[in-house]
Symmetry: C2
Subunit: 214 residues, 2 copies
């Protein structure tokens, strides 16, 4: 394994690769971006951007800045090398779960959505998905058989903690938590909370800190 | 306005208040939590927790730790004082937007969802919501009339940047971005990206940094 990239740098590179993808899509494959332009778009200082990119040990420089497409591909392959391919499952097939079934964003990434679970056989039969849907009773067997590493949790709040604990028992290594519940799990289980309220509170808190609001 | 709370502290207090809410719900109104327990649940050091809480300038101490309910209420009211009430709108009423319409998490928070927008009059007429739904053509007028500060962006990726720019023009101060598009907006418009892929990549990156995965 290459030198590990520090977590904050990885997090920024992940965002940067998505930004570069957008630019490549709009400006074409010959697009070039300077660290100053990246600073403008992201708010990270040029020095931070340059240092982050230096972790890639690859020259993506070009007259006027970085080769957008090359830099994007380098970041994604480097992150993929570091993280590897990973299978994910979707737990909870209510309205939100249904919306997530059709999330196309995984194409061309290191992640694949391979299974969905819901406690109601009704939902698993009504919904159509590009991957098999099972009742929750099959969760342990499917996660083990398919070696699923990550779970996207979209169950009702009342079931969030208990479901998360089961997922941890069944060997899930990380959970993307779409419920407003703050999950309490063993430290080796990573959690990323995805919450619209949390996001709004961060926006408001940020503005408050900036003194824009009383 | 009281002393401003630093952004990282505010962000942690926001999470802590949600954690305390969970504990209060399960353990009842007399629940007590120590900074050590908070450290276990959140991963923040006791010193960080104590320092964050000290910004509240209020004693929530009790034998054995903090009064969970009192601390939660103190944090929420303090954050509300700093951020104030805020109106939000939902932009994009596809599957995800439909799921978000029914997100109940705003009750008792400083935020209220007061309007929804979609380019298709079909969706605005078919869907039922606890707030009015309008076609996108009404966006500017409604945002101005209702003094809406935040937008939850759930439009297709192809429309994300152009819609975000309109929202910025119309006076929106912050956007919760549910699209995978990295938005490029003036620095005074705050953006919080909510992305399942981003969350998965953070989980994977975190594990990689921890050396759990090659």
């Amino acid at each position: 394994m290459k030198t590990e990239i520090p977590k904050p740098t990885l997090a920024r590179l992940v965002k940067l690769s998505r930004l570069l993808e957008q630019i490549a899509n709009t400006e074409g494959e010959n697009a070039v971006i300077s660290s100053t332009e990246i600073e403008k778009l992201t708010g990270w200082t040029r020095d931070t951007v340059r240092r982050d990119i230096s972790f890639l040990n690859a020259s993506c420089a070009k007259a006027g800045g970085y080769d957008v497409l090359l830099l994007k591909q380098t970041i994604q392959s480097r992150i993929a090398v570091q993280t590897g391919e990973a299978k994910c499952c979707l737990v909870g097939l209510g309205r939100l779960g249904e919306a997530l079934i059709n999330y196309g964003g995984f194409d061309g990434t290191a992640f694949s959505l391979v299974a969905g679970f819901d406690s109601s056989v009704n939902r698993t039969e009504i919904l159509s998905a590009p991957f098999p849907l099972y009742t929750t009773t099959k969760m342990q067997a499917v996660i083990a058989a398919q070696n699923i590493e990550y779970a996207i949790l979209a169950v009702p709040s009342s079931a969030a903690q208990s479901t998360a604990q089961k997922l941890a028992e069944y060997g899930i290594k990380g959970i993307v938590n779409f419920t407003p519940v703050v999950l309490s799990l063993p430290a080796n289980i990573k959690i990323e909370n995805v919450s619209v309220l949390d996001a709004l509170q961060k926006l408001a808190a940020e503005r408050a800190v900036l003194g824009e609001k009383k």
